[in-house]
């Protein structure tokens, strides 16, 4: 059933694709973490514009990521913005998780005691300085574990990029499968790779969490 020679033959190809998967994860998470912070900050600073952000966040969170990937890949060119598959896919994943991350940041902001704002006003700090020097440094550390969970979730969603033919792990496995008619080894190896990476990342997040708690 399981062919080891074949396994070692396809391993280098899959390893190269794994790098693509990790790249997509890293880029997607950078977008998610920064855009999420921006969205949460807009909500905090401008309550009126915040309503728009809230609607947007709910819309993104309750519709499937796959449709959003198709949306960016097929709809944006109609508006004259032509993105290659990798960029469109990573942007869709980034925006999707930004919606989740913005909720995490919001919880972080709400955690900062009211008195910190009042003290900053009393010290005559500008709103921007209050935000940058007082609020952010207190709001960010507690949300790191939650962001870590979304990093792992985002990583596990990267196989969706195969739907728009980005050569990440899943697409490579599918290609190998359709060329050789052997799916057992490639698809199983992709599963094993994801499992190992998820367990390792979960371990790292846990270590980071306990390190932050000890400080």
């Amino acid at each position: 059933m399981w062919d080891w020679t074949f396994t070692f033959e396809i391993l280098p190809v899959l390893a190269r694709a794994a790098i693509m998967t990790v790249e997509a994860t890293a880029l997607g998470f950078v977008i998610a973490a920064t855009l999420g912070l921006v969205l949460a900050s807009i909500r905090l600073a401008f309550p009126t514009a915040g309503v728009v952000v809230t609607v947007l966040v709910e819309l993104i969170r309750s519709t499937p990521l796959l449709i959003q990937i198709f949306f960016l890949y097929f709809v944006l060119p109609k508006a004259g913005i032509v993105l290659d598959a990798f960029t469109a896919g990573v942007a869709a994943i980034g925006v999707h998780y930004a919606a989740y991350c913005s909720e995490v940041y919001r919880a972080g902001f709400e955690n900062v005691p009211r008195g910190q704002w009042e003290a900053s006003i009393a010290l005559n700090l500008s709103p921007w300085n209050t935000f940058k020097d007082i609020i952010l440094p207190q709001a960010l550390p507690p949300v790191v574990p939650a962001l870590g969970n979304y990093l792992i979730a985002l990583f596990k969603e990267t196989p969706l990029l195969s739907a728009i033919a980005v050569l990440e792990l899943m697409q490579t496995a599918k290609n190998i499968g359709s060329e050789t008619f052997r799916y057992t080894e490639p698809v199983t190896l992709v599963g094993v790779f994801f499992l190992v990476m998820s367990l390792v990342s979960a371990g790292i997040v846990r270590i980071l969490e306990s390190w932050l708690q000890r400080r």
Binding site: R61, S62, P64, L65, L66, F70, F74, P159, V190, G191
Partner: protein, 213 residues
């Protein structure tokens, strides 16, 4: 539009069947992990970690492409329900386990003092209380399930996403097609959210009455 509605019906079917399987698997896996003998405990931990640690799409492909090579042929619909149900069930198992463990210590001690068997204690005292704590996280998981049903289009099931792609290719009316599909998914998700909120209200009302009486 009728084509999309046909797809939406299939999406709803997979969601409902997947949800039933997920709740069933979650209960079994959680109880096995908490109270089973050691090998059973390992088995359920392995199930939970494998299905949480790999991507839902990989699981779908594995069941669809790899199982036939071991001589097990399942049709695409069955594969969709199995893969999504097992995936969400693994997450649900941790929800169930968390809710059972979080029932107040005194409730366990009182049940022991009343000389209840473990099965009686679970069925009459612990699970009804754990149930209330479980509803909100299950709501989130059901939304996840609704969203992950879009993956079944990739194993050629004609669900909502599949119909949308088909329609996009045949009519080239990209913007209205995908916008409409997003709105249909939103409507399904909102229905689930509202249903779960009603359930939550009813369950917690029952609990408060019980406490007062």
């Amino acid at each position: 539009m009728p084509g999309l509605l046909e797809g939406a019906v299939l999406t709803a079917e997979i969601t409902v069947l997947g949800a039933v399987l997920a709740v069933f698997m979650a209960l079994i896996a959680a109880l096995a992990k908490l109270y089973g003998p050691l090998p059973i405990r390992w088995l359920s931990t392995t199930y939970i970690e494998i299905f949480r640690g790999t991507s839902a799409l990989v699981q779908l492909f594995w069941l669809y492409f790899v199982l036939p090579q071991f001589g097990i042929f399942l049709d695409a619909f069955l594969v969709a329900v199995l893969a999504l149900g097992l995936n969400i069930g693994a997450y649900g198992a941790e929800v169930v386990r968390g809710a059972i463990v979080s029932v107040a210590r005194g409730q366990w001690e009182a049940s022991i003092a009343l000389n209840m068997s473990r099965a009686q204690m679970l069925r009459r005292i612990i699970l009804p209380q754990a149930f209330t704590a479980m509803i909100p996280p299950w709501g989130n998981l059901f939304i996840e399930l609704v969203k992950s049903t879009s993956l079944v289009s990739l194993i050629t099931l004609a669900d909502l996403t599949f119909k949308a792609q088909q329609m996009n290719q045949s009519t080239l009316k990209t913007v209205p097609v995908f916008t409409l599909v997003l709105l249909i998914y939103l409507a399904i998700s909102l229905t689930v959210t509202i249903a779960m909120r009603l359930l939550e209200q009813r369950a917690s009302k029952g609990l408060t009455r019980g406490r007062v009486a």
